[in-house]
C-alpha cells in the first residue's frame, strides 16, 4: 500500500517541493474568496477571460525584455518582476475597460469572448517572438509551480494576506454591492468607486495567481470552489468558508496526484475540481429527488 502511495518518495522530495505546495495552498485559499463574488455576480465569463489576459501580459513582458523595449536590457534572462508587472498591467487594463464598456452595450458575452480568444492567441503569438521565451516561460504559462523559491513564497504570503484582509474588512460593502446595487445607491454609497476597488483587488489577485500557477489553475481556483460551495451553503459565511476549504483540499490533493502519477499540476487540479463538482452536483440533485 505504502509502495503504491509512494509516500516515501514524497517525503524524500518534500524539501524541494514544500514551497510549491504552500504556494498552491495559499492560492487555493485566497482565489476562491474573490471568486465567490465572480460566481454570485454572474461574471464567471470575466473570470475565464482575465487569466488569459494576465498570461498575455506575462508574454508581453518577456517579449519586451527580449527586445530591449522600455529600457530593459535586451536578451537578459527572464526577470520575474517584469513578468509580474506585465501581468498586473494587462489585467487591470482589461478589467477596467470591461467595467467601463460592459454596462454601455448589450453585447457583454460576445465582448468577453472576444477578449478571451484574442488574449489566448496573443499569448502564443508574443511567446513565439520572444527571444528569451524558453521552456521555463512555457512552464509558467502552463502552471508548473515546482520552482517556487522562499522569496516567491514570502511575497505571495504578504500579498495574499493583504488581499484577504481587505476582503474581510470590506466584506459588507462588496456583498451589498453584489446583492442589491440599488439599495447601495439609495444609501449614498459610491458604487462606482467600490466597483473600481473590487476590480483592482480581483485583477491583481488573478495576476499574481496566474503568475504563480498559470491561467488554467488561476481560473479553476477562482471559480470552481465557489461553485461547489454554492451547492451546500445556506448563508454567506458558509459560502466563504466552504470555498476556502475546498480550494485548499483541492490544491493539496491535486499536488499529490500530480506528484504520484507524474501529471502536469494545473490540468490535474482543474480536472479534479471539475469532477468533484460534477459528482457532488449530481449527488445533490439525486438526493433531492429521492427526498421529494
Amino acid at each position: 500500500m505504502m509502495e503504491f502511495l509512494q509516500l516515501d518518495e514524497l517525503r524524500a522530495a518534500w524539501p524541494y517541493l514544500r514551497h510549491a505546495v504552500w504556494m498552491g495552498v495559499i492560492i487555493g485559499a485566497i482565489c476562491p474568496l474573490v471568486g465567490v463574488y465572480f460566481v454570485l455576480r454572474r461574471i464567471v465569463f470575466i473570470g475565464v477571460a482575465i487569466p488569459q489576459v494576465s498570461a498575455a501580459g506575462i508574454a508581453f513582458a518577456f517579449l519586451s525584455q527580449g527586445m530591449g523595449w522600455f529600457g530593459l536590457l535586451p536578451g537578459a534572462s527572464p526577470h520575474m518582476g517584469v513578468a509580474l508587472t506585465g501581468s498586473i498591467l494587462f489585467t487591470l487594463a482589461a478589467l477596467l475597460s470591461m467595467g467601463i464598456l460592459l454596462p454601455r452595450g448589450g453585447m457583454s458575452e460576445a465582448f468577453i469572448g472576444l477578449v478571451f480568444v484574442v488574449a489566448s492567441g496573443l499569448s502564443l503569438l508574443l511567446l513565439s517572438q520572444a527571444p528569451v521565451a524558453e521552456a521555463g516561460l512555457l512552464n509558467l504559462l502552463k502552471g508548473e509551480i515546482v520552482a517556487v523559491t522562499l522569496v516567491d513564497l514570502i511575497r505571495a504570503v504578504v500579498f495574499f494576506g493583504l488581499v484577504a484582509t481587505l476582503l474581510l474588512v470590506f466584506n459588507k460593502e462588496f456583498l451589498l454591492l453584489a446583492f442589491d446595487r440599488e439599495l447601495a445607491i439609495t444609501m449614498g454609497k459610491s458604487v462606482l468607486a467600490w466597483d473600481f476597488f473590487f476590480l483592482v483587488l480581483a485583477g491583481v489577485t488573478v495576476s499574481v495567481a496566474v503568475f504563480n500557477v498559470g491561467p488554467i489553475a488561476g481560473f479553476g481556483y477562482l471559480v470552481i470552489p465557489p461553485l461547489i460551495a454554492l451547492l451546500f451553503s445556506r448563508n454567506m459565511f458558509a459560502m466563504f468558508l466552504l470555498s476556502v476549504v475546498i480550494g485548499v483540499i483541492a490544491s493539496l490533493l491535486s499536488f499529490y496526484l500530480a506528484f504520484r502519477f507524474d501529471l502536469p499540476m494545473a490540468p490535474t487540479s482543474v480536472t479534479l475540481m471539475g469532477v468533484a463538482y460534477g459528482v457532488l452536483a449530481a449527488g445533490k440533485s439525486l438526493t433531492l429527488k429521492i427526498i421529494r
Binding site: K172, L183, I185, T186, M187, R234, A238
Partner: protein
C-alpha cells in the same frame, strides 16, 4: 427650499431615462408622515418617479430638492420588487435585514452585537423573526416583502419608497402587508410612497393617491382619484 415639514419637493420636474421623457411638469411635495399611493398603467412613470426620488436616476429637468436637517438628507428606505434580487445568493433573511444597518455603518466598520439586535427587532416587528435563519430565496413572495420591509426599517427611515412591493404576492399576504404599512405610518410617523395596482386595497388603507396618466401626475384624496379613474374607465371597478 422645501419647508420644515416636507421631506422632498419637485418643481416643474421632468423625469425619465436617458433621453426618454416619461413625466413632465411634475410638481409634488412629500411631507412627514404622508402615506401616498401611486397608481397608473404599466409604463406610466410610477417606478421612474420612485427611482428618481431614491437617487437611482437623475431628474432630466426642473427641480428636485430634499429637506436637509443639519447636514444630512432624509433617510430613505427603498423596498424593491423581491423578484429583482438574484436568488443565486445564499443569504439568510437575517443577513438581508442586516444589510439595512450598512446605511449608517462607515466603510470597513464591523457589525456589532447592537446592530444584530436592531436587525432581530425589525424582523420581530414585521412578525418574521422565525424566518431569520432561512435562505431568503426560499421564502414565499409575501415573506420576502416583509423581510425587505424589515431591512428598510432597520435604517430608521423618514421616508419609505416601495416599488410595487406586493407584485406576485397572494391577496391575503398583500392585505396583511398593506395593514403593516399603515400601522408603521400611524405609529412611527414614517412617510410612505407606494406604487401599486391593487386599487381596492388602496381605498381601504391609503389616504392620498397620485394618478400617473398621459405623462402627468395628479395627487388628491384616494377616493377622489379613484372615482376619477372609474369615470375615465367607464365602469364601476371599485364596487
Amino acid at each position: 427650499m422645501p419647508d420644515e415639514s416636507s421631506l422632498f419637493s419637485m418643481t416643474n420636474a421632468v423625469l425619465g431615462y436617458g433621453k426618454t421623457v416619461v413625466l413632465q411638469e411634475v410638481d409634488f411635495t412629500c411631507r412627514k408622515a404622508d402615506f401616498i399611493a401611486f397608481v397608473g398603467a404599466n409604463g406610466s412613470g410610477k417606478s421612474t418617479f420612485i427611482k428618481t426620488v431614491a437617487g437611482l436616476i437623475p431628474p432630466l429637468g426642473g427641480e428636485l430638492k430634499y429637506a436637509v436637517r443639519g447636514e444630512r438628507l432624509p433617510v430613505m428606505g427603498y423596498v424593491p420588487q423581491s423578484e429583482k434580487l438574484d436568488p443565486i445568493f445564499p443569504v439568510t433573511a437575517f443577513e438581508v435585514v442586516l444589510m439595512g444597518v450598512y446605511s449608517y455603518l462607515g466603510a470597513g466598520r464591523r457589525v456589532k452585537e447592537e446592530h444584530r439586535a436592531d436587525a432581530h427587532r425589525a424582523l420581530k416587528a414585521l412578525e418574521v423573526e422565525g424566518l431569520a435563519r432561512q435562505r431568503f430565496s426560499e421564502l414565499s413572495g409575501g415573506q420576502k416583502q416583509r423581510v425587505l420591509l424589515a431591512r428598510a426599517l432597520v435604517m430608521e427611515p423618514e421616508l419609505l419608497l416601495l416599488d410595487e412591493p406586493t407584485s406576485g404576492v397572494d391577496a391575503k399576504s398583500e392585505s396583511a402587508f398593506m395593514e403593516k404599512l399603515a400601522e408603521l405610518n400611524r405609529t412611527r410617523g414614517v412617510a410612505i410612497i407606494l406604487a401599486s395596482h391593487n386599487l381596492r386595497l388602496l381605498k381601504k388603507c391609503v389616504p392620498r393617491t397620485a394618478w400617473f396618466n398621459a405623462g402627468r401626475v395628479r395627487l388628491d384624496d384616494t377616493s377622489t382619484v379613484l372615482e376619477e379613474i372609474e369615470r375615465e374607465a367607464g365602469v364601476g371597478i371599485f364596487i
